[in-house]
Amino acid sequence: MAYPTEIWGLLGLWVGAVLTVAIYSYMLYKENPLYRLAEHIYIGIAFAITAIVAVQNTNRIAITPLLKGQYMFIIPILLGLGMYTVFVEKYRWISRYSIATLVGVMLGVVTSGTLVPNLINQINSTITAPSGSSTMDWLNFLYVGIGTICALSYFLFTREHTGVLAPTARLGRLIIMVGLGVMFGNTVLFRMSMLSGRIEYLLQVLKILPM
């Protein structure tokens, strides 16, 4: 993508740069007018885009086929409209049918698909010894196996954590903390990637880096 030369392209580029700086100004100068302005613009535009996409999607998937004679689509449209009765106290009961249908369908669809990958395969993977003789594979296998048992024992609330449960629950808590630490580390990596993306954009706008 080349650096824009026409007025609207340049304007878009600079608006993006100014809003980026405005959002990051929160960290340096806390809640300030520039940040508030950028925040409100962002929320407004995000909602507008989401609303437009939702309307287009409903039109494409349900309304257009309905108008072409596929009358079955009246059912999801009515169920969808029923959701909005939640805002009218007198007719709120109608929304329960929509919510019940949604929950029922999701439960049915998810339950059938979730058992194998999320439960059976995970148990199999945890109790199956590695096929190779690599020391690292065996260490991983032992760490995951012991870690799973200890972390589960930490959540065993029907017995007091004394006797054999005391060290396992304590080790389980440590292993959970290690897991949370890894997740936090990954979160920091993600946030830094986003910051790096924004800084790169600013450098491109200032023509320090090519677009």
Binding site: L28, N57, R60, P117, N121, S125, M192, M194, L203
Partner: protein
């Protein structure tokens, strides 16, 4: 004031100094890349190896579940995946669960000029946005046209030649997820129909996706910008992610130093016998 140690002074330092330090450490490698080495993880190698198994004419579904803000994390990897699949002669079906998926698609076309050379409707299709998670994926597995009566540009799906060969899960050789939304493909396509699933997760998803990799529910995984840089290294096309990794590695080194510095006073006071 005279009795203040270096730790006291660091403790009282304005936090904005640290923020500016982070900005500086990120900016410098972007302007002047350092070229730090990137080791390739087996999971990324498995993903790239899986892409190499695609045969000419195979149909691959690519779910762009990333918003514009996630481009620095995943766009680099998506570019490598797309280039590799085009080179393998695969036919590509793109879609996405993010409301700004069309913007990501436009950006991908800019970054992969080869996409423009493919015949739209025959070799590549962009179906656009879809709503819903498991329910949508489950429905696509049995009848893609019911979820997408038309593509993003409004062309009826019945008039798209590629989609006549790809209307259900069994017609696809592979599903690649991008950023998030992987669970529905694992549950509704991988587990239910045996379609190989792999992809790229944002860094935050790395530890959540690892068990699926260990259990074989996904055959490969690239995590975050690091995974994207690894893919670029495997494909021999260092680009944006490789450059970003210099900045990320430098920043993480700074974090490690700051964490050590922040903990030294505590250790020091404990050694001295204080609270």
């Amino acid at each position: 004031m005279a009795n203040q140690t270096i730790f006291d002074r660091l403790d009282k330092l304005d936090r904005r100094v640290y923020y500016w330090l982070i900005v500086l450490v990120i900016t410098w490698p972007l302007i002047s890349p350092i070229g730090l080495p990137i080791t390739i993880k087996p999971s990324t190698r498995a993903l790239y190896g899986g892409l190499q198994t695609v045969q000419e004419g195979d149909v691959v579904l690519i779910d762009i579940f990333m918003s514009v803000s996630t481009w620095p994390e995943c766009m680099g990897g998506l570019v490598v995946e797309t280039n590799t699949l085009i080179d393998r002669g695969a036919r590509l079906v793109y879609m996405g669960n993010s409301v700004d998926v069309a913007r990501s698609w436009d950006r991908l076309k800019e970054l992969v000029p080869k996409l423009q050379t493919l015949e739209y409707g025959e070799d590549v299709v962009f179906l656009g946005y879809y709503a819903g998670e498991d329910a949508a994926a489950a429905q696509m597995a049995v009848d893609m046209s019911s979820v997408f009566p038309a593509d993003h540009y409004g062309r009826p799906i019945a008039e798209i030649p590629l989609m006549s060969d790809a209307n259900r899960a069994a017609d696809f050789a592979m599903v690649l997820f991008t950023a998030e939304g992987e669970v529905k493909w694992i549950q509704q396509w991988g587990a239910a129909y045996g379609v190989p699933v792999a992809g790229m997760g944002i860094a935050m998803k790395g530890s959540a996706l690892a068990p699926y990799l260990a259990s074989g529910d996904i055959f490969g995984l690239a995590v975050g910008v690091r995974g994207a840089a690894e893919l670029e290294a495997l494909a021999g096309m260092p680009a944006a992610a490789t450059k970003t990794m210099d900045a990320i590695s430098s920043t993480h080194l700074l974090f490690v130093i700051l964490i050590i510095l922040a903990n030294l006073p505590v250790i020091y006071s404990k050694i001295k016998g204080g609270n």
